[in-house]
Amino acid sequence: MNDTLLQVKGLKTWLGEGENPVRAVDGVDFEIRRGETFALLGESGCGKSMTALSLMRLLPPSGRIIRGEAFLGETSLFDLAERDMRRERGGRMGMIFQEPMTSLNAVRTIADQIGESVRLHDPENRSDIRSRVIELLKAVGIPDPVRRLDEYPHQLSGGMKQRVMIAMALAGRPELLIADEPTTALDVTIQAQVLALLKDLQHQTGMAVLLITHDLGVVSNVADRVAVMYAGQLIEQATTERFISSPAHPYSQKLFQSLPNSGKRGGRLAVIKGSVPKLTQDFTQCRFVDRCDQSMDICSRSEPVWREHGAGGGVRCHLEDYPGIRIDQPARPDSSETEATRALEEPLIETRDLKIHFPIHKGVFKRVVGHVKAVDGVDISIAPGRTLALVGESGCGKTTVGKGILQLVHPTGGTVKFDGEELSRLKGSALRQLRSQMQIIFQDPVASMNPRMLVGDIIAEGMQAQRIGGTAAGRRGRVLELLAHVGLPADAADLYPNEFSGGQRQRICIARALAVEPRFIVCDEPTSALDVSVQAQILNLLMDLQQEHGISYLFITHNISVVSYLAHEVAVMYLGRIVERGTVEEVLGSPAHPYTQALLSAVPVIDGDSEHEVIRLEGDMPSPANPPTGCHFHPRCPQAFDECRKAYPDSAGLSDTRKVSCFNYRS
């Protein structure tokens, strides 16, 4: 029997009609063997998802397959009649999507939805659908499957929903599972669970997985082979080990270099300048030439062709023809740089026992029946010119802490001091004046700018409100200055935000925050909506600004590698409370709290060998409206003992800078 399961040849998919269709997939060839995990890696907008949707023939109405063939086993997928195709979809080919929240029908039970797949694609089990559904739920590791059967999607957490989605895909006993960013919407601890599950299932059933992702860490952990997609084409294909140890294409090399980690602390991250070219054009040159720093004359004259380099690998680059002049990866900056411990300096921002509770109203008279304790007693302090990273899973109250400090949400209790001044008691104009000192940068650069305003007006808004910059002309000059400062052209001021890419928009947001010359900025996951290459640009910019202006950052994130790159101190948050804090070396180097340990171990590491042990946390974070008694973490803690169930542990100082709230450590 042939070893090849899926073979794609010369696939071209265009979107839109008219003279300039988007050539989303522009000639893609690859093979997937039985039982292997094949990762399709690339930035957003490079045609990864379109490739998958073409294979499933589930393209949006404006999309059409122009050319190419795809064979699943012996079947030519593009020649099948729609009704035969329907049998393949969900049958031999299953698919799971990025967003588990919207992929399930909210008004039908779990059993109903999985049962439908079973009925359609698994004729042998048609007589006893229910037991097959239970079997499937067990296979995807859902505890107590019998009880879950008659539940509705809203009763499940995000990770559970993704498991249900996987169960649905498994119902047809697929030979190929297409997973389109299956863990992007999930937290690291849940991501670790789902990735482990996919691997287990693959071992048991021998199916092949086409994994679409932008995350190098995920690729290195689960993939057997990798194909890198750029601007609608595959530019490199290799086994995972080879790809990680010696990426061939300049783009792949840059991707690795632009990843932040502790080794690159103090240095600048490599950036890929510019952004992905528009796919509406006919390319006569290398698609990467404008962003490549190894480009040669030939690169802008002709498009490179695909060159095999053995073992199913290959690369699309002119450099392959001139092996002599290949520039090796620049040496990573050494991390010998030492930092003076400045944590004991007079803090700029200090919170004591900060509490933010949101009341839950119920009934006709809107009686308060309880509180969501989003933030429940948080102490942090940040010295001038330092960065504190606040780490934790989504829903743990990180963002609320940031907003509480800035008084965007009014604290329920506790104190917030800015430069010695108590903020929570300030009202009206007194608070309004202080606002220029503290700013915030949001996660989603699209949502953080009014789409109806010009960029110039957006940046000037703060100055206007704070009466900085004097006349309109003076403000205008300052706007242009700021734009130059964050690396944008001056004519950007007269455009609308939607004319910029995600990275550029985040720069505008940074310029807006800088306009009022703040001393403290809350960065609320400023890079999590951006691609890796763009993330590096933004992180570099933030680092430069800190060095130039001595700004303090509260850096809210769930991305540990970013933390290790730029933070001085780390606070780990779980369910509204800080469970561990200390300098970055202390916390990331030797995590003390069991939750920190689990969180760090769940982060996929790119080191070639995927042998590092993951501490798998069971279940999800409990609701902050109804936290568990005792230590909040004990239901998921692998080290929990009796005392943990009874009382919340006091924080114990392990060193001058380090505090942990766990019964394992006592002061």
């Binding site: 700013q439 953080s448 009014n450 808004e461 704070q466 947001c509």
Partner: protein
């Protein structure tokens, strides 16, 4: 000719509304986010077609909104009065179609008929009395022998009307093509060919075809209406075609002025409730839920009945002014009952918007609440307002018909489709049946509401951000 202009309340408001729309148009043309969707509307074939139809209605309504006291010439001399001005108030439109207004028959006559619909005793020149259908005073009066000459005459008039219509529409089309060619700096021929092939960005071909159709219809009906009663006459012998045309102003006014009344309340209260929340939200929410639970018809009936008492105690200069006051009150009371829906929508949208990062960022800069509302919230809910107004329009036109039918609508002396239908109610019970009043009102109302509905669909699709990605 025109002496002493009379500005009725509703006339003033119509022109105020027109001014507001023109100002909004100028504002919108400067803002990319508003210009874009309108351009999409202009590019849609349905959008252009319905726009042409609607503009015909609009022209009639605007012409009908210039009121004045006409100068009495002949009539004045006969009475021997010194005043040359009539106490009567007529509109520019009445002046244009004077014939239609003045040629009253005795009672019912069928469309294009030459004789009355009911038999009467006719005294013949020789003194005998026969019972027959008498000839009409105006309809087909020029015919010597209606039985033989009627059909050829109708055909001849139709042909003349259609040819006139075609000639005029051809002239208009050529004029427009010349203008287009000048704007795009192309030769006349090239521009004309582009229009015919449908290769222009805006579907001018559809617009021209609709325009030609409407013009032909106008000229054809003008030819026939000059000699006959195109849609028959009603019980007191008034021309039904004239009534239906006069009703356009009433319908359009109710559809548009009501929004003028309701918008300030809906926008102000909706945004305030969503933005400030807390007790402000509670007060506004309770007031509109309370208002919503009173049946609208009851509220309108109460208001109109009270108004009737007021009107019977006061004197008015003319019947028109009296009817106008009632129309104004009806518009206001309809506005009061209909702001709640839009208010609720805006409250929900504002609740969402106030949590947006850019509003939070503005708060973090210390921008004042008023500025946040005008700069960040209002521009981002404007599309909802626009969609709601255009969708409400056809509902309000129909509401007028229903209210007049139950006698709490516009004044009975005012021409409106509702009143036409109301009077047709009795005629339907006659034997033989008198169907043309009802049919005329239906045709005019139907084509207006259909055009408005199709147009609002196009506008909604263009402005709805959820649909924007799908095309």
């Amino acid at each position: 000719m025109i002496s002493q202009l009379v500005i009725l309340w509703t006339d003033g408001l119509v022109f105020l509304l027109l001014l507001v729309v023109i100002l909004f148009g100028i504002y919108a043309s400067r803002k990319a986010h508003l210009r874009g969707p309108w351009r999409q509307v202009a590019r849609s074939r349905v959008g252009m077609g319905t726009l042409v139809v609607l503009s015909f209605y609009l022209v009639v309504a605007l012409l009908d909104s210039f009121h004045y006291h006409p100068i009495l010439d002949k009539a004045g001399q006969e009475e021997g009065a010194t005043a040359t001005q009539s106490v009567e108030v007529i509109s520019l439109f009445d002046g244009l179609v004077e014939g239609l207004r003045e040629r009253q028959e005795k009672t019912y006559s069928a469309p294009l008929a030459t004789r009355l619909y009911a038999k009467e005793n006719i005294e013949l020149p020789d003194g005998r009395v026969v019972r027959d259908f008498p000839r009409l005073a105006y309809g087909g009066a020029h015919l010597a022998d209606p039985e033989t000459e009627w059909l050829p005459d109708i055909l001849k008039l139709s042909a003349v009307g259609i040819i006139k219509g075609l000639v005029v529409s051809l002239a208009v089309a050529n004029l427009l093509i010349i203008l287009l060619a000048m704007r795009s700096r192309r030769s006349f021929g090239a521009q004309g060919r582009a229009v015919l092939r449908g290769a222009t960005e805006i579907p001018w071909k559809v617009a021209f075809l609709t325009l030609a159709f409407m013009l032909v219809l106008v000229f054809w009906s003008a030819e026939l209406a000059a000699k006959y009663h195109l849609l028959g006459t009603d019980k007191v012998g008034e021309d039904v075609y004239y009534q239906a045309l006069k009703s356009i102003r009433t319908g359009l006014l109710i559809g548009t002025l009501t929004t003028l009344v309701m918008l300030p309340a809906a926008i102000l209260l909706g945004i305030m409730a969503g933005y400030f929340r807390g007790w402000v939200d509670d007060v506004i929410q309770y007031s509109y839920t309370t208002l919503n639970s009173i049946p609208g018809v009851l509220l309108i009936a109460a208001a109109i009945l009270m108004l009737q008492i007021y009107m019977s105690n006061h004197e008015f200069d003319s019947l028109v002014e009296r009817a106008d006051l009632r129309l104004l009150i009806l518009v206001i009371i309809l506005g009061v009952t209909s702001w709640t829906g839009l208010c609720r929508l805006l409250r929900g949208e504002t609740l969402k918007l106030r949590e947006m990062d850019y509003v939070q960022a503005a708060t973090a800069f210390g921008v004042s609440n008023l500025k946040i509302i005008t700069r960040h919230i209002l521009p981002n809910v404007l599309h909802i307002v626009l969609i709601a107004v255009i969708l409400d329009f056809s509902g309000l036109v129909l509401a007028e018909a229903v209210l007049s039918y139950v006698n709490i609508g516009v004044d009975p002396t005012m021409n409106s489709w509702g009143n036409m239908i109301n009077s047709a109610r009795l005629e339907m019970a006659r034997e033989p049946i008198v169907w043309w009043s009802l049919a005329a009102a239906m045709i005019f109302m139907f084509s207006l509401v259909l055009a408005a509905n199709l147009f609002s669909d196009v506008v909604r699709d263009a402005f709805d951000p959820r649909l924007r990605g799908s095309r």
